[in-house]
Symmetry: D2
Subunit: 487 residues, 4 copies
């Protein structure tokens, strides 16, 4: 029966960040601060959240499907997570139903003691490694690529836990911001290219490592610096040590953090995200102006670019679409008639703004294009005379393998259609994307370096910065058919 359908078809018209991580070492309210930090990182994953604390004797773990604020805000829950050191994770599941065993942090009882790990990113050789490990007798608990790291670590011939961790890191490929907790250390690592973000902060004497600065802000911690690409940080009672076991290479952070993933109030790579997004809109206005009455954002993701666009082109910025933030996990859809109202669960036209107007509709990106089509339609039904769609990034033509849940290439609108075709499909009067060079200009570069690109931008260019080992051997990274268990 296809009678029920989740919002995910509709939501699939954005990219999904898979994770946010937060670790803290040396504060008596460790679990509370971790809960608050994860709450600030909630936009990076809403499917599930988990916290592991260490209380000097035991590791305590609580992992739940659902939002941080719904599961980790009670005194009762925090009391189950005693200790001065804690590690947390928010997760966006990439495939089907969330399996509870996959909720992070993952934990293993190693010969050296307990080891909890939380991962933002994706490994591109996880399946290949997993097969080898299983053939050697390893028993996996989850279907998560992160567990591969645990097994590599457990089987490392090295004796010290940090050495074993580095041993494991050297065998993996892909993108990661990792934070781990042992009975004596908080350990953090960022992939050598710096694809995924990771920052270091301080709250009094306590150290914090987390995915974005907004998680420092919420607890009043100070931003110290970014964890360097390839850097491993080890925090103990004796302070912080840093090492970098990888050969030097040019960094290449994911540009989509700037376009969509990161929170507007975060600073990534020294840049305020919101200001960058406004500049995307400003560049877009220069490259792709429109003769219109008003600039309307697709809220909330398109708002900063729309503000930039409006100011650059000199048109009024106005809220022609109201967004409903009370959206749950899914909504039923009994009939074709009702199917068409899916977009209305989140968005409604504000007739007072758009009726009789020529509007520029600004969004951050187009993935499948299904939402754009509905929104344009909604604008016209509310009386917009003309609808000019403008997109604050270049056309997305290639899927991501670094921890972002993207549709297959044949579901990416720009991978399959020309600009003219897309304009027709979406039903707009005109359609404009930011150019690659415009994108790099907004980032403060003169232009994209074609030899050594400054950013990971494969979704636009197809140039992947690492090997894609699993992809070469496996048709899909979703073929793990483990035990299905409810609860």
């Amino acid at each position: 029966m296809m009678w029920t359908q989740t919002l995910s078809d509709f939501d699939d018209d954005t990219f999904h960040e898979e994770c946010g991580v937060f670790g803290i070492f040396g504060n008596k309210d460790a679990a509370t601060l971790t809960a608050l930090g994860l709450h600030a990182l909630q936009h990076r994953g809403q499917e599930a959240a988990g916290i592991v604390s260490f209380d000097g004797e035991h590791f305590n773990s609580e992992r739940r499907p659902g939002l941080v604020a719904d599961n980790f805000s009670s005194e009762k829950m925090i009391n189950r997570l005693p200790g001065d050191n804690a590690l947390g994770h928010v997760r966006y599941s990439t495939s089907g139903a969330t399996i509870n065993r996959n909720i992070q942090p993952l934990f293993a009882d190693l010969s050296s003691g307990g080891f909890a790990i939380a991962h933002n990113g994706n490994l591109t050789n996880a399946l290949t490694l997993r097969k080898e490990l299983v053939s050697e007798g390893a028993i996996f608990q989850s279907t998560s690529d992160t567990e591969v790291i645990l097994h590599l670590l457990a089987q490392s011939p090295k004796s010290r836990v940090v050495e074993r961790f580095i041993d494991a890191l050297k065998q993996i490929e892909g993108a990661y911001g990792l934070v781990a907790l042992t009975n004596k250390k908080l350990i953090a690592a960022r992939d050598p290219l710096g694809i995924r973000p990771l920052v270091l902060g301080k709250l009094g004497e306590a150290y914090i490592v987390c995915s974005e600065t907004c998680a420092l802000d919420i607890i009043g911690a100070e931003f110290d610096r970014e964890v360097e690409p390839g850097e491993i940080i080890v925090i103990t009672n004796d302070g912080l040590k840093s090492m970098n076991p990888f050969p030097p290479m040019p960094i290449r952070p994911c540009i989509f953090e700037y376009i969509y993933f990161a929170r507007p109030d975060s600073r990534v790579g020294g840049k305020n995200i919101y200001e960058v997004r406004k500049r995307f809109g400003q560049e877009l206005a220069k490259e792709s102006p429109a003769d219109a009455d008003v600039v309307v954002p697709v809220p909330d993701s398109g708002t900063p670019a729309a503000i930039g666009y409006a100011s650059a082109i000199g048109l009024p910025f106005d809220l022609g679409i109201t967004r409903n933030h009370y959206v749950g996990r899914s909504f039923i859809e009994p009939t074709q008639q009702l199917r068409d109202m899916r977009v209305k669960l989140k968005h409604n036209a504000n007739g007072g703004v758009v009726a009789g107007k020529k509007i520029v509709l600004v969004d951050d990106s187009i993935v499948r294009g299904t939402t754009s089509k509905k929104i344009v339609e909604m604008m016209r039904e509310s009386g917009a005379r003309e609808v000019h769609m403008r997109i604050g990034c270049p056309p997305i033509k290639f899927p991501c393998y670094y921890g972002i849940d993207t549709p297959d290439k044949n579901n990416l609108l720009a991978a399959n259609y020309s600009l003219e075709e897309m304009t027709d499909l979406i039903g707009a009067d005109s359609l404009g994307f930011l150019s690659i060079d415009g994108l790099y200009r907004a980032m403060g570069e003169k232009q994209r370096n074609p030899i050594v690109p400054q950013y990971t931008d494969h979704c636009f260019t197809g140039e992947y910065p690492t090997r894609l080992t699993d992809l070469a051997t496996e048709p899909s990274h979703r073929q793990l058919s483990l035990l299905a268990e409810t609860a």
Copy 2:
């Protein structure tokens, strides 16, 4: 132990609308459409929701604490609510813990058959009537004032249900948008002054009565007209009948629907809410300009007025505060240190926008002032040079007795302090409110009619449009000490 504390202290710094109602007659997807309609009305009440359907034989009822999308979106739930006619309600609880028995629609098995009722508003003589009814032998199930209407109806000497309903309405005082469902009829009624809103729509042959037009938009229904103040509408298989059993009197809708309660994309009294709010900002800019670099809204409620203010005064509008929409019901607060981060659960300064700037901070209203103080502080910590606070309505000095949860008078900032004192308390460099006349001008009136005011505006003026019978006899409308039962 006061170790945990809910967000409500903090949230109390807004007014809370108590309810939204939605009824539909004559569509085979009645329960689904009601769930969608309630989802669109979710801003009017987030504590609980309920739907009653009639399937030609039985009334079916499901009532749950929590959000519509979390409880009424599954096929399983909708299958429990068969029938072509349905009635729904979203609720904001005014006192302490939600008691499940109070979740509406309420239901009674009368001698004439089943009768379900949903109510937006508040009766000002409910306690007085309840005492009389109990002394005559009535047994109440809930502590809700709405149940008084059921008992008046049950005990009416009239024989027909509509006559009995009118009989009941004539005995009650206060504000209401009511929708009721019997085995043959959908009945709606709006209070004679039109204090609470109620609109009529059509979807094909089906009739809809609901609190706001946004609930019509979400299901693709057409707005027909407002239910008139004092009008009773009876919908059966034979169509719609209208009657108005009250003596004619000047209407007086609640002005706070325009300021805060209604959704920006709704039309109330023929006006687009968002446009009215922008005009509040424009009038405010005229009355209370500021020498500044940028206009920053307190999101989301202050955004329309900020846009209006910025355009009128000719300053850039910019998002200096990021709002986190993933806020759950409560968050712990173990220490004084953590207490101060409450405001950060929802709001974070966007340093890139405010640092080094003179800013105008625009909000829709000030109730207790606790949030304003924190936000001003947050702006300063992020480097704002000057903070000029501007409020899109007059000072709130009097509590509400018409279905809005307001603090006691001694917790209303403007009821207790002068403008100068308030400026100091909030920590702003300057503070400006919209005047009463500015408010009326923005509403399209020349000025407030002092004899017969065009709107219910007692929160600013202290002029209550109806008798306050209970208040005269009872110190508080929260003194009902019924059986405490956990769900």
Copy 3:
């Protein structure tokens, strides 16, 4: 889909007692002691349980589907029920799914204050009264006949609560053991014929009123006396007062309490239940001997009579059937093959005992006969050579209207078949019932008094001791079609 089926079809082959009540006044552990008392009365109703306490200020109520030990044994639950006075109830639902609103004690907020009531028994004019009350404007919360008493009380013109209660009792017909709790009193009442049992006990200074003495034993309370038929007991801080507002009439307790309902270790009417049941077996052995090797009880209900039968006839008593006590609420039954194993969820033959033997199989009663048939079959499959069935009471030919859930007359085996036919249907080699006179002899009477029978024995004789008002006007007491609401 009839794929699932509850055990109830199978369980319907016994009578079901509908309730047990327990009230205590004046002990600081009132809720704990009530929970323990209800646990001892669990055999009288397993569907749901509830406790109301009064803490000097508020009434507190917790009502749950399921067993007492599963719901009322935690510190957390007991802490929700503070106070020195408490009232509890266990319930067997007579119809379909349990509706949570029907779980007792019921509560009403009367003009005189809160009033909680728990009822064991059934009113035979409840529907008739309910119709009158509803036509006068009463709103019912439940479908329970007990609520009629609350409304009669609420509408009584008398001023004092005890007078109003007596006023209500004078209008009802049927069988009842009632206990009620107000903010100052514990009130108990037993029907004028003493059909349902009710006993009075003391624990230190505290008074207890409950259905059976086993509930006194479990808390170490002393049995004081039975509540007299027609007696109303009022317990306050000043002690106990007794009154009997009914005209004197010969008492007539339900004889089925002795045969099946009461726990074997309880004393009812001055008699030890277990000893009476052994005497049923002894009389049965005299009236209906069998030539056999061993006497086997159908456990647990048939065990006392089997012990009596074996000792009287001089045969060994042996456990030829093992009973599994871990039976839940229902068990699936996907195929015809599986349907036949229903009886095995509870009972299994003990081959070591019955193989090759001539056995006398003793049970307390036969209702539908379906279990008896299966058990006889099970005995034969395990190698019994002959199976002589003996029943410790007369043939049941008439349904009950006094609070016992009985099948319709056409499902009562003995109402439709001769002894010979029943023997054939059950598949036994012989079948014998205790005679009416044997039954009365075992009770210590010379014989049944045909003019004024000493016991309520209508299930055997068809002689009902009260008027059956509802039955005269209503085809079924199950026709209430109120609002269906899931918990």
Copy 4:
């Protein structure tokens, strides 16, 4: 706070069997039949239950704390467990709170495919093996000794799954009845000494392997034979294969299965359990007669021995104690006064039987003696003139390490006190145990063979039949301090 206390202190006065297993291969109702089989084995473990099915493509698993009938009886649950082959387990947890990860069947995704395993028994070298495995890089999911078998299997150098399983079995010591399910096979194994029971049955073409014959009876399956000590059985679509990879040795089944663990209607080692227990009572009567009026069992465990005792000595058997079967998991105990009523949650004296009598009180065994003391006291309070306690097995002096949860030696009454002292402590007028030789005689042996005892009887003799490797190196098998995680 010690305010709440579980029944377990009280229940600890028996031994606890830890598990029951049930596997079926080749029936379309596999999960239903497994649920029924586990229900029949519920006496072997009430803490948790689990079922894994294989549907030809996927393994499906459902594991729940609580009773089988409460969790595995719904159509919904059974529908989650499709397939013709299934494996189930009931569990009694030995330590503290049940950890959900420990609920069996356990599952691993091996290189050869999925492998589910269920275990009744205990390994005596599990901790030693676990340490080795962890030091080699194995990551354990549970604290269960059973998982050791999974890792040994995963790491076996052999290629075929049966060979790898045998490889694992050869490394473990202790007692086990094991059943495993792969995507092609049902595999069973019994420990070489046959300490734990395991039987083979057939239902049409389907094979069943389970702990006791009562699980065959409930589904109407035929008992085929016992699985031989040391035998490995492999069932595929091609039928059953048997092998025995262990050197021949004299078998030595656990004698406590006959005394307490097995259900009375099961046949173990060719003997009907109930008949054996009656013979224990008969031998006891010969060895330890008493001058009394009546023989009273401690129900239900003492009932068969009491029947045997009564018939051998020629005294009437009578039910002087009523047992309440509705006992939940725990019951609160706020005060000392209430503490003494713990025993009454399960047992109540039947005054009609014991008052004024000299009674022989028969129980199956004495562990801590706390229950015996309470029951003797209860008999005296109900008026028993003399209480002669008789126990249907020898004094228990040594703990068990083969899957039975026993108290430490210093909590075993008979390990610390003389007969005279025990008589005093219990408060009986006399106390008698069955002798070791009486025990063996009742088992049909002439006497115990002191060189090669016919049964595992270490609880009486201290002679353990296997090495106790962990005990030699570890003070306690409960010292695993893994991650604590709430479900």
